[in-house]
Symmetry: C2
Subunit: 158 residues, 2 copies
């Protein structure tokens, strides 16, 4: 049997920056989103809980924004390592924060099915990475976001 | 002693659309954000919990996006009632959903102080309301958002 093992970028974030509510592996109250490199693109998956509702039957837009936010910074980190020809475990660590994002709620996102969060890098320029993130449910894209992520300033980790 | 009593728009949402994770009065696991009309503008307040962290010491961007999202729809509803010269308790209820939003994280938002979320209506056109929402901590604006909200289609509540 042939298998491919993918490693999530968040599992390589240093412990002192691994408490993010959206994707920190050390935040046991958070979403613990994991972003994987899949070919040229990136992928994450998330199944909302029943209480993540907007109006009954649909996913809360703030959660969808959170998924786009975290997968956008994860996608940026993946792209930055690849761009430097480095593996995720190499030093120094590259960690990104969101500078801005634009989100279009194309249609209501049904609450129930697992959501797929896909990322495509649009631009890498210096410390900035721009990516397009889409969320789909049952094969239908319901949300599209653009995330401008920047490499975390040293001042935020001191 | 003179006092002013403000009523939150979310307390007037019908029960069947009051389960939003961000601002539904009936979602006991959610944030239960409340949006008030204050003069021409709107105001909400929120104190993040310790686990709502991005990196240590700062508020998670996905939560900030959630606050902007919900206060944007609350601001839209307040504006729509005012625009029609109606009070919040009058029928039919006016309930909005977010069509799109743009968020600029101007600087890191410190985790600890109460956040003030201010709303200003920029445009009302038919079923659409555009508002500018800012978040401030300790008197400093850290996040600025623009929310395009549309009156909820009937199809979402059936």
């Amino acid at each position: 049997m042939n298998t491919i093992i993918l490693e999530a970028i968040q599992d390589f974030y240093p412990d002192d920056v691994s408490h993010c509510y959206g994707c920190g592996k050390l935040n046991d109250k958070g979403y613990q989103l994991k972003s994987y490199a899949v070919g040229e693109d990136t992928l994450a998956r998330f199944t909302p809980s029943k209480h993540h509702t907007a109006i009954p039957g649909f996913v809360y837009g703030g959660l969808l924004a959170s998924l786009i936010d975290c997968h956008g910074t994860g996608t940026a980190a993946i792209a930055a390592y690849k761009n430097e020809g480095r593996d995720f475990a190499s030093d120094p660590p590259l960690r990104f924060v969101t500078a801005s994002m634009k989100i279009d709620y194309l249609k209501p996102t049904p609450l129930g099915p697992e959501l797929l969060i896909n990322g495509k890098v649009k631009e890498i320029k210096g410390r900035k990475v721009v990516s397009e993130i889409t969320i789909s449910a049952d094969g239908v894209v319901t949300v599209r976001g653009e995330v401008v992520a920047v490499q975390m300033p040293e001042s935020m980790t001191k």
